[in-house]
Every structure is written in C-alpha cells, then in structure tokens.
C-alpha cells in the first residue's frame, strides 16, 4: 500500500481547474444555470403579487435566494470542497430541473391560479404547514416510525426464523408449508376488520398486520435461499468437522443472505401499504391518520406536506436497508451486478 501513496501525492499536485471563460460554459455552466433558476424562483415570490393571501411567500422567496447563493458558492469552490463539491457538481442538472419545477408550480398556482386553487396549493402554503403545524406533524412521524419499526422487526425476525426452519428441517416444513400457502398470499389488509376487534388495542392490531405483511415475503425468500444452498458446501463443512448448528449458522444462513435481503425489501414495501391503511382506519396517530384528518378538514396543503414527508421516510428506510445489505454482502461485489 505504501508504494501507492507516494505516487498518489505527486498526482495530487496536478493543477486545479482555474475559472476561465471556457469553463463557464462547461463544468461551471450547469451550476450557474441552477443558481439562476433558484434566483428566479426567489424573485418571482418576492416581487410578483400573489392572487391569494399566503403568509409565507416572503420567507419562501428569501429561502430560494439563499439556496441560489449556496449553489453559486458551491459551484465555484467545488474543487476545494472535496466529496461535497463533487456531489453538487454531479447533481447540478437536477437542481436546474427542480428549480424550474418549483418556479413553474409557484407561477401556476400563486401567481396565475391556472390550477384550481384549494386542491393545488402553492409551495408557500406547504412551507406554512411545516412551520405552523410542525408539532402535530412530528408527532405523526414519530408514531408512524414507532409502529412501522415494531411491526417490521417482529415480522422480519419471525419470518427469518421460520424461513430457516422450514428450509432446514423437512419435519417443520411439513407442518408450516400448507399454512404458509393458505395464509401467505392473502393481502394483510384483508385481516383489518378481524384484527381490529380481536386485538386489545388498535396499535397491537396494526403491529400484527405489519408483521404479517413483512413476514410472508421474508419467510418465503429465506426458505428458498436456505433450500437452494449447494450441498457441496455442506459436504465440505462436514468433512472439516462441522456440527449441525455450524451448518445452519455458518453455512446455510450466510449462503441464503442475498435471498433474505430480497425478502426484507419486498416485506418493507408491503408493510408501508399496511401501515398507511391501518393508520387511516384504526390507529388515531401517524402520517396515514394525518392524511385522513387533513382531508376531513379540506386542508390540502397539509396532505401534500404529509405526502412529501412520507415519501422521504419510505425512501430513507429503503436506503437504510440497502446500505445494510451492501455492508453485510460486500463479498458479492464482483460476483453479481446490483
């Protein structure tokens, strides 16, 4: 390794890109355009009268101009900002597109009301929800996370253990396969009415449903993962003196792990659906309930605000799962293409 670092330091001495006129149209051009679009968005908020009465128009305008300034600063100092600068440069086209989209949205709603107004609120009214209704929104977020996390962990654990058991033992498989085949394909939401009066609380009922929605794909994929482990691996381990517990824990499970992660991913997707439905119908908390409540009051801006938060949470959860997989299955890099 030390031999490489020597050549690395000499390479690092190469001249940095200087700001020249030709660069303005090249690597800096997209960043400049992004900055310009956000500036236009900010100015349109500040100096163009709204058709309605929104309290956060000015804050939004100032915020957009601050973003424009950050993009401008980042664009010209990207070379000195390390990975953050590189990330900004890579995403500059997206910043242009997103800036153009919010400008268009602002103009189409707050400035000209091309879109029918109560149903399509302008960006500033969504900002207003985040500032003025924050406590309630945060409570909902926490409630959703708590419910989702509990149900998902229970479902994933039970599904994993069941999957390994039926993949490993034919006796257990004999009893569990028919049950799995009969109950598994049933959408978890079909249990809703029964779950809500058989369980002591709507919270425990929802946890059960989320666990169910998670458990089925995790079970099936863990099972198929364990069942498809090549018998050659077991032969090798047995001749080296492995006991059955070693075969399960150190051969079957690691070999099945790529399948398990597919199951965990599918389980996550279906459990989100159950979470939202359960919150809308039974649980009096969480983002699903917030959506329902906002609809009841015709508070359309709150609905959009909650939807945005929800999508951030869901994609965050999936990103987290992928990061965990990348860490655990680092040996797969180079074997399969993700």
């Amino acid at each position: 390794m030390s031999t490489y670092s020597v050549s690395d330091t000499t390479a690092a001495g190469s001249p940095r890109a200087a700001v020249t006129f030709s660069n303005l149209s090249g690597s800096y051009g997209v960043g400049l355009a992004a900055s310009f679009v956000w500036l236009a968005f900010g100015l349109s908020c500040l100096y163009w009268p709204d058709v309605g009465d929104w309290s956060r128009t000015e804050s939004l305008g100032i915020g957009a101009i601050v973003i424009a300034a950050f993009i401008l600063f980042g664009t010209f100092s990207a070379d000195y900002l390390g990975s953050a600068g590189q990330a900004l440069r890579k995403r500059a086209p997206w910043l242009v597109a997103f800036g153009a989209f919010v400008t268009l949205w602002e103009v189409a709603t707050a400035k000209f009301a091309w879109l029918p107004l109560p149903f399509f609120p302008p960006p500033q009214s969504i900002l207003e929800v985040y500032t003025d209704d924050l406590p309630k929104l945060l409570d909902s977020v926490l409630a959703s996370i708590r419910l989702q996390l509990g149900g998902y962990l229970i479902g994933a654990t039970i599904g994993f253990i069941t999957g390994v058991s039926i993949g490993w033992s034919q006796k257990i498989g004999y009893w569990v396969h028919p049950v799995l085949r009969f109950i598994g394909p049933l959408p978890a939401t079909a249990w809703l009415p029964i779950a809500f009066f058989t369980f002591p609380s709507s919270w425990s009922a929802s946890t059960f449903l989320i666990a169910l929605a998670t458990g089925f794909p995790v079970t099936v994929l863990t099972w198929s993962g364990v069942a498809s482990v090549s018998s050659a691996y077991y032969d090798v381990a047995r001749t080296l003196g492995a006991k059955p517990s070693f075969l399960v824990l150190k051969v079957a499970i690691p070999a099945a792990l790529p399948h398990v992660f597919v199951g965990l991913f599918m389980g996550l997707g279906s459990s989100f659906a159950v979470l939202v439905v359960a919150e809308m119908i039974g649980v009096k908390a969480g983002l699903g309930w917030y959506l329902q409540w906002a609809q009841g009051w015709a508070a359309y801006a709150n609905m959009y605000a909650a939807l945005i938060v929800m999508s951030l949470l869901c994609s965050g959860a999936i990103t987290l799962l992928f990061k965990t997989r990348d860490r655990l299955l680092v040996w797969q890099k180079g074997v399969v293409k993700w």
Binding site: A232, D235, G241, K250, P254, L257, L329, W331, G334
Partner: protein, 265 residues
C-alpha cells in the same frame, strides 16, 4: 486426537493413517431401480502411502471417496481408519473436491480457518491458519475473496483448508481436473512436495493416467460400473519423477490397455 503438536511436526513423522476397505459394495436408488456402483472392493492402504484410483468416467471412484470421507455409508462391507470403523465425517480425513467450493462470503483466511472454527479450536490455533496459507504461497491474498482468485489459486486455498486440520488421510477428488495444463503440472509438483513433507496418507481419484503415474506409489485401476479392482500396480520410482521416463511410459501403456484404450497408444 487429530491435532499434532508442533514438536512432532518439525521432525516430519509419518502421520498418515492406515486405511482398510473390506468387501465394500454400494448402490444408488434412482427412480425405483437399484444402480450398483461398487462391487466388493477390497483395498488396504499403508500409512503414508500415495494411492491413485483410476477408472473410466462414472465408474464409482468418487462414490468410493465419499465413503472414505464418511459422507455416505456403504450398503455392505466396512471401512476402517487405523482399525477404527468409519461412521461419519471426521477432520482426520479431509476431502479436496474437483471444484474448490470455497465459501464465497468468506475471505481466503476465513475459508482456510473453517475446519478449526467448526471444531471450536480456532481461538488458540490461529497461527496454524497463517502457517498453512504461507505454505501454499498465498499470504498476499489472505484477505481476498474467492471471486478474486484464479482457478489455481482457489484450488490452493482448498488444499490449505484441508491441510490446516493436519489430516491423517488426504482424500483428493480430481482436485486438478479443471485447471489449465501448466498450472496443473506446477500443482502436481507442489502436491508431491506437501505429501513428502507432511507424511499423510493420500488417496487421489483421477482420470489422468500420467498424473497418477507422476504422483502415486500405487495405482489402482477400477473397472466399469459397478467398480471392481482390476489391477493394483506399484510405481517404484523416486520423486521427482520425469514425465518422459520409459518405465512410466511402459506402465502407462499397460494401464491404458486395462482401461480398454490400447488402440489409442
């Protein structure tokens, strides 16, 4: 037990075990029909001997190895290691298969450590893993994953994974069968050197007559399925052997004749 003390290892003793195969017959049930694969095989292998099993493809050589390894039990007859009946797998009889079957989720070091880990003695015996990786010349690759290795390197890891257990009997199931011819010749020499140094009894299945003659003290020629012993040929030549040796060429001709391939000579 299996574990050799280091003092013994330095004096290079004959650590090999005696292997006795007595009246072993075996068969498989395929779609209700019984397919006999081994027919009354009798073979006695002295400690430290290097025996090659030669036979036509699909004759039951590998089945015999699985019985020696204890992965399967024979329908009749018995197998004994140092007069102890073989009832199941044991790390004193380690198999190297045709495919290296390295665990892709484990690094080279962790693959080699597998046997010691399975026996629960890895914590005190880590130096043995390092030593055997050094022995097969892969110290630079100890942290590599199997998919980063060439075929020859992977097979060397598989060999190291077997040797770390200090086996008394090393069972080789065409371990060089899938390697290119240059790697193969190099690894044959390495195998002989390891065997001479360690002194384990070696049982090698191969379909390459030349390989059997270059490596083994004794070549057992098996018949078509169900396998019976057709010939038991002693190869009395010192190591390292030369492929062009007229004595070996003569034996080769004789063995090819036994396999029904005299016309190709």
């Amino acid at each position: 037990m299996v574990v050799q003390s280091t003092a013994e290892a330095i004096t290079y003793p004959a650590v090999g075990a005696e292997l006795d195969i007595e009246g072993v017959s075996h068969a498989f049930d395929i779609d209700g029909a019984t397919l006999p694969v081994l027919d009354n095989v009798n073979l006695s292998i002295a400690p430290g001997e290097f025996v090659a099993l030669l036979g036509p493809s699909g004759c039951g050589k590998s089945t015999l190895l699985r019985l020696v390894a204890g992965l399967e039990k024979p329908r009749s007859g018995s197998l004994r290691e140092d007069d102890v009946r073989i009832n199941g797998p044991h790390p004193s009889r380690v198999v190297v298969f045709q495919d290296p079957t390295l665990f892709p989720w484990r690094s080279v070091w962790d693959n080699v450590a597998l046997g010691l880990e399975a026996q629960g003695i890895l914590k005190t015996q880590r130096h043995r893993v390092d030593a055997v990786i050094e022995l097969v010349g892969l110290s630079a690759f100890r942290n590599a994953y199997p998919h980063q290795l060439s075929g020859g390197m992977a097979q060397r890891v598989a060999l190291a994974r077997a040797l770390v257990n200090d086996p008394k009997i090393l069972v080789l199931d065409e371990p060089l069968g899938k390697l290119d011819s240059l790697t193969r010749i190099a690894m044959q020499a390495e195998l002989v050197a390891l065997w001479q140094r360690k002194g384990f009894t070696t049982l090698l299945v191969t379909h390459d007559v030349e390989e059997a003659l270059v490596l083994a003290n004794r070549v057992i020629v098996l018949s078509d399925r169900p396998a019976r012993i057709k010939a038991d040929i002693a190869v009395q030549r010192p190591y390292p052997r030369h492929r062009g040796d007229p004595y070996l060429a003569d034996l080769r001709k004789q063995i090819l004749g036994l396999l029904g391939l005299e016309a190709t000579w």
